[in-house]
């Protein structure tokens, strides 16, 4: 837990990367370790978030909502902070994301995605909307972003190379990546650092960032196809 506390994002980029570089606080821990570090209420099927979303959809279960909120809101906020959102913006988006879960619970399809994946897409859309509103003002219009991610195509199951992945198999694929490859994926896509910033943080040449990222993507694809 000390390591997690030390990883709280600093507004100051160099300080942030200084934290990343400390040997005591590795930039990325294995998924399995991260999962063990999550505290769970004793005797409760804490992982069954999909059932709680269903409870909201079926009977507007406020207790289920509160449990989802207590678990996911701080994680969504942490995720957004790492992505460079300010504390106020991360707080607002996390609250809106939870409200969206309540309002759209009946649209959640556990066969199509896990709860965390669905919540990720909700937060992503809200963040795009927030950036858009900074530019042009106006109220929340996240339904526009939602429409932008709706690809009206008919599913063709035989051709879906990696579509059938569960969250567990995606974790398996991530776990199989070498540390340095996982780190560039995290920094590039989930902390939105530029290649230049990554090169500086990891003290590797710019060209190595690009080639390592490419290698990581290829490896991830082959792992995902193997896990299928």
């Amino acid at each position: 837990m000390i390591q997690i506390a030390r990883r709280v994002v600093s507004q100051d980029m160099s300080a942030h990367f200084a934290v990343l570089d400390l040997p005591a606080a590795p930039a990325l821990r294995r998924w399995s370790e991260l999962r063990m570090s999550v505290e769970r209420p004793a005797g409760q099927a804490a992982e069954d978030w999909a059932a709680r979303i269903a409870a909201i959809a079926n009977r507007q279960d406020r207790e289920a909502f509160a449990e989802l909120f207590r678990h996911f809101a701080p994680r969504v906020k942490g995720f957004l902070r790492r992505n460079g959102a300010s504390d106020a913006q991360a707080e607002e988006i996390a609250q809106e994301a939870m409200l969206t879960i309540w309002r759209k619970a009946q649209l959640f399809d556990p066969a199509a995605s896990g709860a965390a994946t669905w919540i990720f897409t909700i937060a992503r859309n809200l963040r795009i909307d927030a950036i858009r509103r900074e530019k042009r003002g106006g109220g929340l219009r996240v339904e526009e972003v939602e429409a932008e991610y709706e690809i009206d195509a008919t599913p063709t199951p035989d051709a879906q190379i990696v579509a059938a992945q569960s969250e567990a198999s995606v974790r398996g694929a991530l776990d199989a990546l070498p540390d340095d490859q996982l780190k560039v994926i995290q920094l590039s896509y989930f902390e939105e650092r530029s290649h230049g910033e990554i090169a500086q943080a990891l003290q590797i040449p710019l060209g190595t960032v690009k080639s390592r990222l490419r290698l990581a993507m290829k490896r991830l694809r082959s792992e995902l196809e193997a896990e299928r």
Binding site: A5, V8, W31, L34, V38, A66, F69, R70, F72, A73, P74, R75, V76, K77, G78, F79, R81, D87, A94, Q95, M98, L99, S113, G114, A115, A116, T117, F120, T121, R124, R132, R136, G139, E143, E144, A147, E148, E150, D152, A153, P155, A159, Q160, I161, V162, A163, Q165, S166, E167, V170, L174, I185, Q186, F190, E192, R214, M217, L220, R221, L224
Partner: protein, 214 residues
């Protein structure tokens, strides 16, 4: 119809995490509408996003956050705009949300080549337009000052990278200079998302440069 040219995994991942600008997202979504393989990858990257959210170190919410959110649960959801308006002659190959945008008028670019701007609802560093080339047309040799994404809607063209038919995706950048040639059987319609400017080369290109701003 087999799609042979796909966006790179990195581009699709950037799409999945919301890191592309709107113009680029339009180009990638146009490819995705035609390509189950890339839809699969994109969905897998959303699951990676889910894993990152699930395992993010929690950051404490404001003390009253849960109470405030609970108090908002019963408020009616804001009415969504009655979407569904579509530009009547927008190509059906485009994703629905793109067909809902305002399209400009077809404009002359060069002999046998026309373009039609698509007006995005927000300022984007990337401009998006349709490019229609007559059968057998050769598009000027050109280079790019920044990223250019092309997705073929109908017809086909060839350049050094191979043949590009419906659904195929081509990424050009400052390192690429090419001269696409449209197949002779039918006209070619592409959606193009372009950052920066084109640099024309060759006789016709230099001649057209002062007049054409794609």
């Amino acid at each position: 119809m087999t799609i042979e040219h796909h966006p790179e995994e990195a581009t699709l991942t950037a799409y999945a995490v919301g890191a592309l600008d709107l113009g680029q997202r339009v180009a990638v979504a146009t490819h995705l509408a035609a390509c189950p393989r890339c839809r699969g990858w994109t969905r897998a990257m959303e699951r990676v996003g889910g894993a990152f959210v699930a395992d993010s170190p929690p950051v404490a919410m404001a003390a009253d956050a849960l109470a405030r959110t609970l108090a908002r649960l019963d408020a009616p959801a804001p009415a969504a705009d009655a979407a569904g308006r579509e530009t009547a002659d927008a190509p059906i190959e485009l994703p629905k949300f793109v067909r809902g945008y305002d399209f400009g008028r077809w404009r002359w670019v060069a002999p046998r080549i026309r373009m039609r701007p698509i007006h995005l609802p927000e300022a984007s560093p990337t401009r998006v337009f349709l490019l229609k080339s007559a059968p057998g047309a050769t598009i000027f040799a050109h280079a790019h000052t920044a990223l250019e994404m092309t997705c073929v809607l109908r017809g086909a063209f060839h350049h050094e990278g191979g043949r590009y038919g419906p659904g195929d995706f081509d990424l050009g950048d400052e390192t690429v200079s090419h001269q696409p040639r449209v197949e002779s059987e039918s006209e070619c319609l592409c959606l193009i998302a372009m950052q920066g400017e084109l640099r024309w080369s060759g006789f016709w290109g230099r001649l057209a440069q002062p007049f054409v701003r794609l």
